[in-house]
Structure formats: C-alpha cells, structure tokens
C-alpha cells in the first residue's frame, strides 16, 4: 500500500547492535578498569551531582555512579549469560529427548515441565530465591530453573514439527540411525527458533535479575548491580535524582538493544514476518 518500505531489519540490527554493544563494551572494560573503585567510599564526594569528575554523580557513600554502573553491567550481563547458557543447554537436551523419544521419559519430563510452566517465571524465581537465599550463583540457579521450561517447550515443539518434515524421512530412508538423524538434521534446524528465544531470554533475565536485586533478593550489596543501585537510590529520589537515572537507563538501553536485535534476528530467520 505504501510506496516506502521501511528497512526494519537493518535499522533494528544497527540501533540494537550499537545499544547492546556499548553496554557489553562497558562491562568488558569494567573487568580491567573503572574510573574509580566501584566500592571505594569517599565521604567528600557524597551526593556529588554529575560533573566532569563524576559524569553520573556519586552516591550516599561518595562512590562513583559511573564506575558502579560499569561494574553492574559486568555483573548483570555475566549473570544473564550464565543463566541463558544454563537454560539453553539443559532445555535443549531435555527438549530433544522429549521431542524425539516417546514414552515414559517424555511424559515424566513434560509433566514436571508443565508444572513449572504453570508458575509465572518471576514468581518461581522468587520462590526459589526464598529457598536458596540471595547470592550471585543462587540467582543463576533460580532464574535458570525458572526459564528452562520455556526452552524445553520451544525445542520440543520444533523437534516435533521438524521430525515430520520430508528431509527427516529421507534421512531415515537412506538408512541413517535415529541419533544421527537427530543430530545431523533435526538439531541444526531447531537452531533458528532457539536463537530467537535465547535472545529474548537474555533480556528477560537482565530484567528479572534487576528486579530481584531491586527487591533485595538478588546479588547482595555492596557489590553493585543496576537493581540494587536503583533500590538504594529510592530514599534520595528528591534530593539526588541522578542516582536513579543512570542504573535505570542502563537497564532500559540493554533491553531496548536486545529487543531490537531480537526483532532483526526474527525477521532474518522468518522472512514472512518482516515488516
């Protein structure tokens, strides 16, 4: 209808790449260097407003917000990366098994899976955190368990549809065994939906981790995360609003980057959906 076709995929990939790239870069730099020690207390800089010395200001202990945001980027992205890896590895293995082998294994795994899916993800994570207690690896475990069931479901669904495709049948007719067929033909073709899911899951995990940290159930202070920085900024919202800007902006930029990249990826893998 319209004469102008907006290049969605290119625009999404470019903007999303730049946004997420800058966050990842900040996280990578934070491994080696931050302008100030993110934990270094400096009472003279308490509530320093943004300036050249402290571009994002300083908090109630005089800690540099930029350094803390960079260190938080490292924490959040590494937690998200670990969690997504956990969920994708375990979820794919279980999904392949349930999608390919019918019978009792399939039913049992799917029963547990459906039970976990019957909880909203964040609620399950909260419940697990109540059991595990707040710490960095506890978060990975809790969010990993909370998000694995959706990977299982997507992989299983994809496997069920791919195994009906004629090229899988052709592989069987050639005389290939079931395991070979699964690894050579089914798994590689399940990659596309898995990649789309893993991308958006990265975003969900960043968000959930921040929310848990914001509630005080995530990575415990003094280690900075965007969530616990926001939580700490809350009492000073009126007097030092900059404390709440930087960490929130970081989360938003990360999520926007991931959402845009996810859209670009989905358009590339499923050209029908391209705008």
């Amino acid at each position: 209808m319209s004469a102008f076709r907006f290049p969605w995929r290119q625009a999404n990939a470019l903007i999303g790449g730049v946004l997420l790239g800058s966050i990842l870069l900040a996280a990578a730099v934070a491994i080696l260097w931050t302008p100030f020690d993110p934990l270094g207390i400096n009472l003279r800089a308490r509530f320093a407003a943004p300036s050249w010395g402290h571009p994002f200001g300083a908090d109630e202990f005089g800690r540099d917000v930029l350094s803390r945001a960079m260190s938080g980027a490292l924490t959040s992205t590494s937690v998200a990366l670990l969690t997504v890896t956990f969920a994708v590895l375990i979820g794919t293995a279980l999904g392949l098994v349930t999608g390919y082998m019918r019978g009792w294994t399939d039913r049992l795994i799917m029963m547990v899976n459906d039970a976990l899916l019957a909880f909203p993800g964040m609620l399950l994570a909260l419940g697990l955190m109540a059991v595990i207690g707040p710490n960095r690896y506890g978060i990975v475990l809790a969010l990993g368990i909370a998000y694995t069931p959706s990977v299982v479901r997507v992989v299983r669904g994809t496997v069920l549809s791919i195994r009906e495709r004629e090229f899988v049948e052709a592989s069987r007719v050639l005389g290939n065994g079931e395991v070979f067929t699964m690894l050579r033909h089914v798994l590689p073709n399940a990659f596309a939906p898995l990649a789309v899911l893993a991308t958006s899951m990265f975003g969900w995990v960043i968000l959930s981790e921040s929310a848990l940290s914001f509630l005080g159930l995530g990575v415990p202070p003094p280690a900075p995360t965007w969530g616990n920085m926001l939580s700490a900024a809350r009492p000073y919202l009126e007097s030092a609003p900059w404390l709440g800007i930087a960490p929130g902006l970081c989360i938003a930029v990360t999520l926007l980057g991931i959402n845009l990249l996810g859209d670009a990826l989905r358009d590339k893998l499923d050209p029908r959906m391209a705008g």
Binding site: E166, A170, R172, V173, L174, G175, N176, P188, N189
Partner: protein, 539 residues
C-alpha cells in the same frame, strides 16, 4: 464483430511493476466477450494472477499498475473512484480464489459470509429473503443440507465443499464477469472436474463471462473458447483455444503443449525380470488416540493390498485423495508400520527383518517424495545432501565419493551445483537433487511419491523424461505413486487403481487406459483434462 457492444472486459497494454521498477506484467492485452470463457495460461512467475487481481485493484502491497487501461463494459475502471470500485467488486465482477482452505474467514459462519455480499450490493433486500436466497444458492451448487451449512464454520468442510460455497456466494450476486484464479488447483482431479463443471454451468445459465486463470492446458482446452498464453509477464500468444493448442505458432506455446505427457509405444519385449518387491494382504491401520470422551478409533488406510514389482519395470499406483496410495508407499518403505500382511524384498520378508536385513533393504530401496521444498535439509549444501547417501557405503575413498557425487549431479543435469543451498534452486532443480540422492547408491527399487505434482508443467515433463532415461541407463524398478493419469500413461508399464484403501483394478497400462470398465477407473480417466487432451492430440 463486436463493434457496437463493447466486450465485458477489455485490458489494453497492462503493465504491473514492483515498486523498484521491475515489471512482473509487461504489456498484456486481452478481452472477454459476453458469455465467453477466456483462459489465461501460464506457469509460475508468468504474472497471470497479477493480471486477474489488477482488474479489481487487489494487487498485493509492493506491486502497482504502472500503465494500461482496464475497461469493464466500456467503462475505464483502472482508476475508478473508491465508491465505484466497491460497487464493482462482488456486485458486477465476482472473484473466486485458488485456496479454498484459506479464502473463507475461519471465524465467521458460512451464512454470515454469504449474506455479507448481499447486504452490500442488495441493500434493500430483507434478512429473511437474504437467508432464503443463500440457502437456495447452496442447494444449486449441490449442497443439500443448506440450512445447517449456513450455520456452520468453514473448517467443518472439505476443500471441494468450500469451493462450492465460494462459488455460490459469488454467483449469487449474478456478476457480469467472474474471475476465477486457479479455482481448482488445490483439489483432487475428481472434485476438480465437478467444481469446474458446476462453475461453467452456472455462468452459462446466468450469462456471466469468465476469465479463467490456470496453469493446466487440459482445463483450458476443456472449458475455454479463447485463451491467452503468458510467459514471464509477457503475452506470448492468444486466440481461439482450439487453434492455440491445436496449432501453436509460438515456441513457448509449443513447449507447453508438448509438455503434456503422451503414451509412447513400448519397446517391444516387456522387461519381465525377477520379482523385486512383492506385497501380500498388506493392511495399515492408523490408531486415533481416544480422548477423554472418545473411544480410540481405528482408521484403516490400506486394506489388504497385493502387488508385485519386477526388475526394471515401472508400476504406477493411482487414485483420488484418500485412496491410501501414499500410505501404501510409506508402509513399503517401513516409514509407517503395517498392521498386517507381508512385504518381501527380493524374497526377504521385510517385516521380520533384523538390523542387517533392514540395512541391506535401505541400501537398495529409495524414495523420491512429492515436495522438493521440504525433502531437502535447508541447512545443507547440495553436494552434502547427495553425498550423505554414500556415508553408509563401505570401502569408498574420499576422492571416490567426491567423483561419485559429481557424476550423480551431472546425470541429473546439475553439474557444478555442489556448493549451492536448496533455497538457491528452483523447484525443478530441487527435485533433481532429490533424484540424485535417491539414485547415487544405484538402488534396485525406487518409490516415487507424486514426484512431479508440485512442479510447473514444462518442468514436470523434464523430470518425467529424466526419470525415464535414468531408468533406462540404470535399470531400477519404480513404484510410481501419482494422481496424474497422463504422466502415469507415459511412464508406467502397469497400473494399479486404488480406492478407499483397496485395489479396485490392475493391469497393463494401455489395457487399463483403453479398455477399463470399472466405474471408478472410468471416472478418474474422464476427470483428467490433460489425458483427454493428449488423446485428442493423437487422434
């Protein structure tokens, strides 16, 4: 001749292009006179559908008419104002689409959808009258239980029934022109015949002119008075149908006509070698799992089939949809488990075969399946797809495998295509890859399940010829499963006719085609437009 009364539809110099400027329809002109059936013929990419859609301004986004005049009863409508166009759509010009499964709205009851057109174009008609008219019209297209049908949703009906409903809802408004875009391509040949007969009958009664878009020369010959041949958006030839098909002037038209399979004289002595495959009393039952409130039911797809295939011969299995012919092929390949009977491959009982027995069977029996878009792994290169078949062959060096792959691809006319991916190939090329994969291990038996039905006509001919020549050089036996009787007549030595899971007739090809008196076989034969056409062409 028609200088005073203008034709119902007259298209002159039509050009349709992509927004980037590339033309998909380039300078096409045609006209449809009163009560006339004019066919537009072409293969995929010929732009025939776009010509049809442009008449009512229904081009998909991204395409637009750039030049040309479209006249309806003398009135130029290519830039008709919105209101006039809406009055034309449905009211004066009706349109029937290709896919009956997706052209009715799944969320709205049939009655409501039919009434919608009446509400727009006959606003004065009362509700009761509308309903009565809808029911009458449904009865006229052969739906007896019209009242119930009006209250039902589309998903409750088969494709053939839905296409009847479409036809009813369009013809109910008594349009002056009916545009039918491949109206029966998605239906099996028996249903196709019924729906087309119905369509032509109704339009003749109402004096409606028809623009029939099709790829099937048989349909053109049977139903149209005049026809227009398109190739890649350009008009190749047009004129009275008998003349265009009987004595084509242009090269492309000649190729189309030649693509209709013809029976050819068999080379004297029939090859009657040893029995490769023998099937006895084969049953296949699909168990539909019972739900909470439904008992498990058995669906018997194949009911006691006996057949043999000898070395070097081609046996065709034909039948309408639901005849069980595809299930039969899959059961022989052990892709579905038969529920009873025996299958012997060169004397070895397959259903009791162990691992080694199955391995040797797999090595010697291959499949070519219908849909070349789904039968090749999209993530593998052509060379790897074909080469995968060699993985299980012992004692073959890497270089030996490589030259074998090259040879196999060269045989199907795809030399140098090793590095391509399936999505870079056309449908015909993909089917060639599937054939190379099936034949690279030199199997003794090939089961071809509708190997050409997804392809364009000229490509069908090439693939059929390729299969024949490969069979001559390698001497494999072939079980050729098809609904395309003309193709069967060209390629098969013997024919098996299946109906509802049983064999109703079998015999030598010519004997079945020329002398069968089984009613189901006769109905199938008569429903095949290409077959009648090829018969005519021979006489």
């Amino acid at each position: 001749m028609q200088s005073e009364i203008p034709p119902v539809l007259e298209i002159t110099g039509l050009k349709i292009g992509l927004l980037q400027g590339q033309l998909v329809v380039d300078d096409v002109s045609l006209s449809v006179g009163r009560g006339e059936v004019v066919a537009v013929v072409g293969e995929s990419g010929s732009g025939k559908t776009m010509v049809a859609r442009s008449v009512l301004g229904l081009l998909p986004p991204g395409l637009a008419r750039s030049e040309g005049i479209i006249r309806f009863n003398g009135e130029a409508i290519q830039q008709a104002p919105w209101k006039r166009m809406r009055a034309l759509r449905g009211g004066e010009i009706g349109m029937v689409f290709q896919e009956p499964m997706v052209s009715l709205n799944p969320a709205i009851r049939i009655g409501k959808q039919m009434e919608e057109g009446l509400a727009i174009h006959r606003p004065k008609m009362g509700r009761e009258e509308r309903r009565k008219l809808c029911a009458d019209m449904l009865r006229r297209v052969g739906i007896d239980d019209a009242e119930r049908c009006l209250m039902a949703f589309p998903h409750e009906f088969s494709g053939g029934m839905r296409q009847r409903m479409m036809l009813a809802s369009v013809m109910m408004l008594e349009p002056k022109l009916l545009i039918a875009d491949e109206p029966t391509t998605a239906l099996d040949s028996l249903t196709q015949r019924e729906v087309l007969d119905l369509m032509v009958g109704l339009t003749r009664e109402m004096g409606t002119a028809v623009l029939l878009i099709t790829h099937d020369l048989g349909v053109v010959a049977r139903y149209s008075q005049r026809c227009v041949v398109l190739e890649k958006g350009r008009l190749v030839e047009s004129g009275p149908t008998a003349q265009v098909i009987g004595a084509p002037r242009e090269l492309y038209t000649r190729r189309l006509v030649e693509a209709i399979p013809r029976p050819r004289p068999r080379d004297g002595a029939e090859r009657a070698g040893e029995v490769v495959l023998s099937v006895e009393k084969l049953h296949v039952t699909f168990r539909r799992r019972g739900g909470l409130f439904q008992r498990a039911t058995d669906m018997r797809a194949v009911k006691g089939v006996d057949l043999t295939v000898r070395a070097g011969e081609t046996v065709a299995v034909v039948g309408g949809s639901g005849s069980g012919k595809t299930t039969l092929g899959r059961a022989i390949l052990r892709l579905v488990e038969p529920s009873g009977g025996t299958i012997r491959f060169k004397g070895m009982p397959l259903l009791q075969a162990g691992r080694a027995g199955m391995h040797s069977f797999r090595m010697a029996c291959q499949l070519i399946s219908q849909d070349p878009y789904s039968s090749l792994d999209p993530r593998m290169r052509v060379g790897d797809i074909v080469g995968e078949a060699l993985r299980l062959l012992d004692g073959m060096s890497a270089s030996g495998k490589h030259s074998r792959i090259e040879e196999a691809l060269a045989e199907v006319g795809l030399a140098g295509y090793e590095r391509r991916f399936p999505h870079q190939l056309s449908g015909g090329q993909r089917q060639r890859v599937a054939i190379a994969r099936a034949l690279i291990r030199r199997p003794e038996l090939v089961i071809a399940d509708e190997p050409i039905s997804a392809l364009d006509m000229t490509i069908q001919k090439q693939i059929l010829d390729l299969l024949e020549s490969l069979q001559r050089s390698h001497g494999f036996s072939c079980l050729f499963i098809s609904h395309d009787l003309a193709a069967v007549r060209q390629i098969a030595n013997r024919v098996i006719v299946m109906q509802e899971g049983r064999i109703v007739e079998q015999g030598e090809t010519e004997a079945v085609f020329e002398r069968s008196d089984h009613p189901y076989t006769r109905a199938l034969l008569e429903a095949s437009p290409a077959l009648t056409l090829s018969r005519k062409a021979i006489l």
